[in-house]
Amino acid sequence: MDNGIVMTVANLIRDILMLVLGNEFIVSLIMKFIGIGALLGAISGAAIAFTYTERKVCAFVQVRLGPNRVGPMGLLQPIADMLKLMTKEDIIPNGVDRVVWALAPILLFVPSALAYAFFPFDDGAIFADVNVGIFLLIAISSQSVLTFLMGGYASNSKYGMIGAMRAVATSLAYEAPMVFSLLGIVMLTGSLRMSDIVTVQGDNVWFIVLQPIAFLIYITTCMAETNRTPFDFVECESEIVAGAFTEYSGMRWALFFLAEYANLLSISVLTTTFFLGGWTGPVLPGFVWFWIKTLLMLFVFLWFRWTFPRVRIDQMMSFCWKVLLPLALVNVLLTGVGIYIYRWM
C-alpha cells in the first residue's frame, strides 16, 4: 500500500475537481482550503469530543459514572455544554486592557491550530511537510505562552498576573529539555522533516525503543506544556483560582478550554509521531494505527492528570533545569556515541 486512505480520498476529490473545473491552480487552491477546513474541523471536533472523554476517563479513575443524562450515555453532554457557554453573558471586568484581554483567547488558538499543519496523520497526509518540521513545530507551539501572558497581564487581577508569571517562568524551564530530548530523534533520522521521522521508524524500529530516556523526558515536558496536573501552574485551581483565566467567563473562557484540549491532542499526536512510529503498523491501514496510538497516549495523559498531585513551582523548575536538561544532554551524547559505534560496526 503506497498511499493511505486519506491520500486516496484526497486524490479522488482532486480528480473530480479537475474534471469539473479543469484549472490546476484553482483546484490546488480549493484543495488547500479543504485541507484547512478538515484540520480545523478535526481540532474543534476533537476538542469537543475530548471534554466528554476526559470526564468519562476521570469518572472511571474516580469510581464514578460521569455524564450519563444528555443523550445516550451522555454523549450529547459536550454539545449541551457548548450551548450553555455560548448563551452566557459576556462579562468584561472593569479595568482590563480590553484589546489585549479580548485578543488573548483568540490568539491562543493560532499556535494550537497552526501546529496541526505539521502532523502526519497518514502516509502522505501532512498539510505542510516542510524540511524543518520539528523546528517550526516547537517554535510555533511555544508561542502559546505569550497568550497566557497577555490574558493574565491584561486581566488586571493579581491571580491572573501570578498565573501569567508562572506561565513564562515554567515555559523557559520545560522548553529546553523538550528540545534536547527531540534532538536524539533528529540525530537518528538525519532529518527535521516529520514524514521522514515516521518513515524511518516504520523501516526500522520505533524510537521509544532506541530513545527511552527521551520518551520519558518528552512526555513529562509535554504535560507541562499543556498546563495539566502535575504541572498545571497557569491554571492551578486550588492555589490561584484559575490563574491567567480567572477573569474570563462564557465563550472566552471556553476558547482557553478548547485550546487546552487541542493541545492535548497535539501532544498525543506528537508523542505518537516521534516515539511510537506514527501511522506505521502491520495489517490495519495507517490512518487507523495513527488514531489507535494517539488515543492510547491521550488516555495515558488523562490518567496522569487524574492521579497525580501538583508539584510546587520551584520544584518543577529545579526538576526541569537540574534533572531533565542534563539527562536530555546525556541522552544526546549517548545517541551520538551509539550512532558512531553503529556505523563503525
Binding site: 474516580q62 493579581k158 496536573t229 486550588s238 483560582v241 498531585p309 501538583r310 513551582i313
Partner: protein, 373 residues
C-alpha cells in the same frame, strides 16, 4: 539622584493577595491576606468572621438541653464530638454521671466521627495539592459511616445524638454488625489511600519538611490535637483526663517528629486506625443497662462555673459555662481548636511559596464552622 540611572537595580515591591472568602481551597469562607514577594509568602493574616453565627450567644439565650443542637453546627464534620464536649461540660456542672453504656455508645460514635473527619482531612489535603481523585475516594468511604449514623439517629451530618446525661436513644438493631463490617474495611481502604498518596513522590516532596512547626512554636500558639501531636508532644485529652469510657480502652497516641505537613498528615492517618481500635474494643465490652441517666426535666445547675474539655477531632475542645442558677447559662465560651490553630498559620507559611501556604491551610485542617463559631 536620577531614578532611571542604570546602576540602580530594578526595585521589586511586595503586594497583598487577598485569598478568600471565595476561593477553591479555603475550606469554606476563610479569608487570608497574603503579603507576597513574587511567589514567596512574607506574611499571612487569616481574617475570620465570615461564618459567625453567634453560637455562644445563642446558647446563652436557651436552656441547657436546647443548646446541644447548636453545637452540631460548630464543627460540622464531627458533630458527635461537639455534642460530647457540650454535654460533658453540662454534666460536670450539674454533677450528672452518665451510665456506663452511654459512655460506651458515646465513645463509639465519637470515634467513628473522628474517622470520618480525618477522612475529610485526607481528601481535602489531596484536593488542595491538586489530586482531586483522593477526595472522591475518602468521601466514598466516609459514606459508610454516615449511613451508620443515619441508622443511629436519623441524621447524616448534624446529629444531636449525645444528650445531657447519656444519648438520645439506645443503639438500634443491626448497628453492631454494620459497624463491625465497616471496621473490617478500615485497613483495606487505608491501604488504598496509602497506595494512592503515601508512596507518591510528588505528594512526598510537597509535604515533607514543608511548613515546619517546632514543639515550642506549636505550644506558644496553643495548638492542640493532631497539629500539636505532629510536633512530637503526646498530648491527648482522652489520655490525660481519661473522661468517659476512654480509660478502659487500650489505644496509642500517634505522634510525629518534625512537625511538618507530612507529620500532620501521618498523625491523622494513624489516628484513624487507633480510633477503629477503640470502636472495636467498645463494641466488644459494651455493658448492658441504661443509656440515659436520671436527668430532671428542667435542668437548673447550681450557681458556679465550669471549664470542661474533651478531645475534639481538631484538638482540645473546651466549653466554659457560667451558671447563675437559672435554667439558662449566664455565659458560654467555646474553646475552638481550629480557631486557635489558625494562629499557627503565619509561622507555618512564612518563607514558603503560595503552593506551600495552601498545603499548610489544608494540613492544619481548619473548619470554618468551628473557627467562626
Amino acid at each position: 539622584m536620577n531614578e532611571f540611572n542604570d546602576n540602580v537595580a530594578p526595585k521589586t515591591e511586595t503586594f497583598v493577595l487577598n485569598m478568600g472568602p471565595q476561593h477553591p481551597s479555603t475550606h469554606g469562607v476563610l479569608r487570608v491576606e497574603l503579603d507576597l514577594d513574587g511567589e514567596k509568602v512574607i506574611r499571612v493574616r487569616p481574617i475570620m468572621g465570615y461564618l459567625h453565627r453567634g453560637i455562644e450567644k445563642l446558647l446563652e439565650s436557651r436552656t441547657y438541653a436546647q443548646g446541644s443542637p447548636f453545637t452540631d453546627r460548630l464543627d460540622y464534620v464531627s458533630s458527635m464530638n461537639n455534642n460530647y464536649g457540650y454535654c460533658h461540660a453540662v454534666e460536670e456542672l450539674c454533677g450528672i454521671e452518665p451510665p456506663p453504656r452511654a459512655n460506651y455508645i458515646r465513645a463509639i460514635v465519637a470515634e467513628l466521627n473522628r474517622i470520618t473527619s480525618h477522612m475529610v482531612f485526607i481528601g481535602s489535603l489531596a484536593n488542595d495539592l491538586g489530586a482531586v481523585t483522593g477526595m472522591i475516594y475518602t468521601f466514598r468511604d466516609r459514606e459508610e459511616v454516615l449511613d451508620i449514623f443515619d441508622l443511629v439517629c436519623g441524621a447524616r451530618q448534624t446529629y444531636n445524638y449525645i444528650r445531657i446525661g447519656g444519648v438520645a436513644q439506645d443503639i438500634p438493631q443491626g448497628f453492631e454488625e454494620k459497624v463491625r463490617k465497616f471496621l473490617d474495611r478500615v485497613p483495606e481502604f487505608m491501604e488504598e489511600y496509602a497506595d494512592l498518596l503515601n508512596g507518591n513522590e510528588i505528594f512526598n516532596v510537597r509535604l515533607k519538611e514543608v511548613s515546619v512547626m517546632t514543639k515550642e512554636e506549636a505550644l506558644a500558639c496553643n495548638m492542640t490535637g493532631p497539629n500539636l501531636r505532629a510536633t512530637g508532644v503526646p498530648f491527648d485529652v482522652r489520655k490525660v483526663d481519661g473522661y468517659g469510657a476512654y480509660p478502659e480502652f487500650d489505644f496509642d497516641v500517634p505522634v510525629g517528629e518534625n512537625g511538618d505537613n507530612w507529620d500532620r498528615y501521618q498523625v491523622r492517618y494513624k489516628e484513624i486506625l487507633e480510633s477503629a481500635k477503640i470502636v472495636r474494643q467498645a463494641l466488644d465490652g459494651m455493658p448492658e443497662g441504661d443509656f440515659m441517666a436520671k436527668v430532671p426535666k428542667v435542668l437548673k445547675p447550681p450557681k458556679g462555673e465550669i471549664f470542661s474539655r474533651t478531645e475534639g477531632t481538631r484538638g482540645e475542645l473546651g466549653f466554659y459555662i457560667v451558671s447563675d442558677g437559672t435554667t439558662k447559662p449566664y455565659r458560654v465560651h467555646i474553646r475552638r481548636p481550629s480557631f486557635i490553630s489558625m494562629q499557627g498559620l503565619n509561622p507555618m507559611c512564612r518563607g514558603g511559596l503560595i503552593g506551600d501556604a495552601i498545603a499548610a491551610f489544608a494540613s492544619i485542617d481548619p473548619l470554618m464552622g468551628e473557627v467562626d463559631c
